[in-house]
């Protein structure tokens, strides 16, 4: 056989398919979309005990072959070998949650009845044990007529035995299976109930502590208070905890600039490295600690099972603007970055709901805005306290976050009555069990996020900064003339400035906005590069914040902040929106409405501030 056999992981949502997939394939994964649908196809290589390579496919979670969503449709088509361009899986690995057998065995029976070579992975046996359940895999295997292998995906336990059974699966004796093909859903449920009971050797009520925890965390009064306290701590931590690490990175960049200046001859190459690469890219990389802290909170909330509770608590509020608690999870992720946020909208079953959530996700203050906000706030908002433990700078930042959230809710309300009009969507969601997040999973998740950020800094942001530096540095200015004014970039900015001047933007801002189309952070690196090229020694010593404070008026600075609350200056967001909505229509709508709002609100802010005499 020349083709690599396909082995499909299939089962209910949250059974641990993805965890098992990760454990079996390690880093050898390929993620793409199934053709024609926005359903993710996750495939990866592994090897059977004999050395035979296999392709593992992690199918979307499903409750039944009778699909209720596009994701489930893909699953059912693939396992039945009807999906065009997908090979019929050689072996089905049915993943079930050991602590939730009664529910998961319903779909498992339906899959086994297909008559394909099948192995059941009895996953999460660690959680079952923790909750006082002792199971008998052999009894379950006899009842189902297929091999059952206990596994703990997150600890990589049971993987060898599972691969062994996958290898043997094509030679399975199908006569052991009972004729269950024509069972109705209630009959299957009854069978699942009996099989689950038959497989349980002993059971204590240790799982009650889940309900105790829920009693507090879902309490109508205490629940929201705890959630908001948690979110408050999260945003505080992003600033308070990151500081020492930011200083560390800043010092490192500083000493690299010093090193280049000391070792290289003066000239164009040295300027390129110091002003372009190190100053530009460095001004973005310093935000890595804050991004990691934000993602650490979000990942812990997700992996501990709390995120679903947060969605429950937020459902009522989201319902006011025509969304559901489901939208809360992608929107919260969007505070770190809109890209994973928009991808997380796949969990929203209702298409209109999903589209609305995608369109408002860029209004959540993502970490790419932090550099912009932090620089402007640092330069213009005095660092004094306005109450016990409340700093003015932090308050302004909080206000900007709030501005984005309120804006998003208002936009959702309008969208739900116009372009995404439709019946109010419901909210149906299974609450996963609580658990302490496995440290390894957490670290892998953090590493993936950090890697994406650094890759962005090394590619998009690097390129944008370098191109800008070139455009800024040539042609060379006559003595006495400003280099920025004389440069190609300066000329381009002159044109844009005609449009931007009425809302209080100056020449440097117009100049920074163009490369910042690639990514918001570039606005900061662009300003840093601009002032580094044009500045004399004294001004360079004052740093970017010093230069801004000296050169910009307060109304201009505030207008700049208001602009960035809305402006969709992120190529990746536009690209991912195009991919997730299958076309250019919605990214264009998103661009138009967000730039429109940015212009209007920056204008209002500027003229308001001028009128107030700020």
């Amino acid at each position: 056989m020349s083709r690599v056999p396909v082995i499909a992981l299939v089962g209910n949502p949250n059974a641990g398919k993805s965890a098992l997939f990760n454990a079996l394939t390690g880093a050898r994964q390929k993620i793409a979309n199934y053709p024609g649908v926005t359903v993710e196809r996750k495939a990866g290589r592994a090897a059977l005990p004999s050395g035979q390579p296999i392709e593992l496919v992690d199918l979307p979670g499903s409750y039944s072959l009778d699909a209720a969503s596009p994701d489930e449709e893909v699953t059912s088509q693939v396992v039945m070998g009807r999906f065009r361009g997908e090979a019929m899986p050689e072996v089905l690995v049915v993943v079930v949650d050991a602590a939730n057998l009664e529910q998961h065995l319903v779909f498992a029976q339906e899959l086994i009845a297909l008559g394909r070579p099948t192995v059941v992975a009895l996953n999460m046996v660690d959680l079952a044990e923790r909750d006082g359940l002792v199971l008998d895999p052999a009894a379950l295997s006899t009842a189902l007529g297929v091999p059952v292998v206990p596994t703990v995906a997150v600890r990589k336990r049971g993987l060898d035995a599972l691969l062994e059974e996958i290898e043997q699966a094509p030679q399975q004796d199908r006569t052991l299976r009972h004729e269950v093909a024509e069972l109705s859903l209630p009959e299957r449920r009854l069978a699942a109930h009996n099989m689950a009971n038959g497989a349980i050797l002993s059971e204590t009520t240790a799982y009650r502590w889940h309900s105790r925890l829920d009693k507090v965390l879902l309490n109508p009064w205490a629940g929201p208070i705890i959630l908001f306290a948690l979110l408050f701590v999260m945003f505080q931590a992003v600033f308070a905890w990151a500081d020492p690490f930011i200083t560390l990175i800043e010092d490192a960049i500083e000493s690299m600039i010093g090193f280049v200046q000391a070792t290289m001859p003066d000239g164009i190459v040295q300027d390129f490295l110091t002003q372009g690469v190190l100053t530009g890219v460095g001004s973005v990389v310093v935000f890595l600690p804050q991004i990691i802290i934000l993602f650490a909170f979000i990942l812990v909330m997700e992996q501990s099972g709390y995120m679903a509770r947060a969605a429950f608590l937020m459902d009522r509020l989201m319902a006011y603007v025509g969304l559901s608690g489901r939208s809360f999870i992608p929107l919260l992720s969007s505070f770190a970055c809109a890209i994973p946020g928009i991808m997380a909208t796949r969990a929203i079953a209702d298409p209109k709901d999903r589209l609305t959530t995608i369109l408002i996700a860029p209004l959540m203050t993502c970490s790419a805005r932090l550099p912009v906000y932090a620089v402007i706030i640092g330069a213009f908002i005095p660092s004094r306290t306005v109450g016990p433990g409340i700093g003015l700078q932090g308050l302004v930042l909080f206000g900007l976050y709030l501005f984005g959230i309120v804006g998003a809710m208002a936009v959702a309300l309008v969208l739900r009555r116009t372009v995404t009009k439709g019946a109010a969507s419901g909210f149906i969601m299974e609450m996963p069990r609580y658990q302490v997040p496995p440290l390894r999973d957490l670290l892998i998740g953090l590493w993936q996020r950090a890697y994406i950020f650094l890759r962005r800094a090394g590619t998009i942001i690097f390129m944008a900064t370098v191109i800008l530096w070139v455009l800024l540095s040539f042609p060379k200015a006559e003595p006495g003339e400003s280099q920025v004014e004389a440069s190609i970039a300066g000329r381009i900015a002159d044109g844009l400035n005609v449009v931007m001047e009425p809302i209080g933007f100056n020449h440097e801002i117009s100049l920074a906005l163009v490369p910042a189309m690639a990514a918001r952070e570039v606005a900061v690196s662009a300003l840093a590069t601009t002032y580094a090229i044009d500045g004399d020694e004294d001004a360079q010593a004052a740093g970017l914040t010093g230069r801004l404070a000296a050169d910009w008026s307060l109304p201009t600075a505030l207008a700049f902040l208001a602009w960035f609350v809305f402006a969709p200056q992120c190529l990746s967001t536009i690209a991912v929106t195009r991919r997730e909505t299958n076309g250019w229509k919605w990214p264009v709508v998103m661009l138009a409405y967000l730039f429109g709002l940015a212009y209007v609100f920056a204008g209002i802010t500027y003229w308001g501030a001028v009128a107030l005499g700020l």
Binding site: Y63, S64, D66, A68, S69, A99, N100, E102, Q103, V106, L185, P186, R189, Y207, H210, S211, D214, K215, L218, N219, P220, W221, G223, P224, A308, A311, F312, L313, D315, R316, A319, G325, A349, D350, A423, G426, F427, I428, M429, E430, M431
Partner: protein
């Protein structure tokens, strides 16, 4: 009067058995999802929690070892009796 009792009227902490579901009153995909989760005729459930504020929406329903969040509108379509 018990025949008029629906799941949304059950107080948190109380149990109920679903005796029939008005599937037609629900969106087809949502009906499918609820059935797939096991919220169907004959299911013995307990109402665990109600959402924040006065709408008491959504509700958390315990079914076997799982907890499922649904909207009140879904619960209203489920006729129940006290077990």
């Amino acid at each position: 009067m018990d025949s008029q009792l629906t799941l949304d009227q059950i107080a948190p902490g109380s149990r109920a058995e679903i005796i029939s579901v008005a599937w037609d009153a629900l969106a087809p995909d949502e009906a499918k999802r609820l059935r797939a989760l096991g919220l169907d005729e004959g299911a013995r459930v307990a109402v665990a929690h109600r959402g924040i504020f006065f709408g008491s929406d959504p509700m958390a329903i315990i079914l076997g070892r799982t907890t499922i969040a649904i909207r009140r509108a879904h619960a209203r379509a489920m006729q129940v009796k006290h077990p």
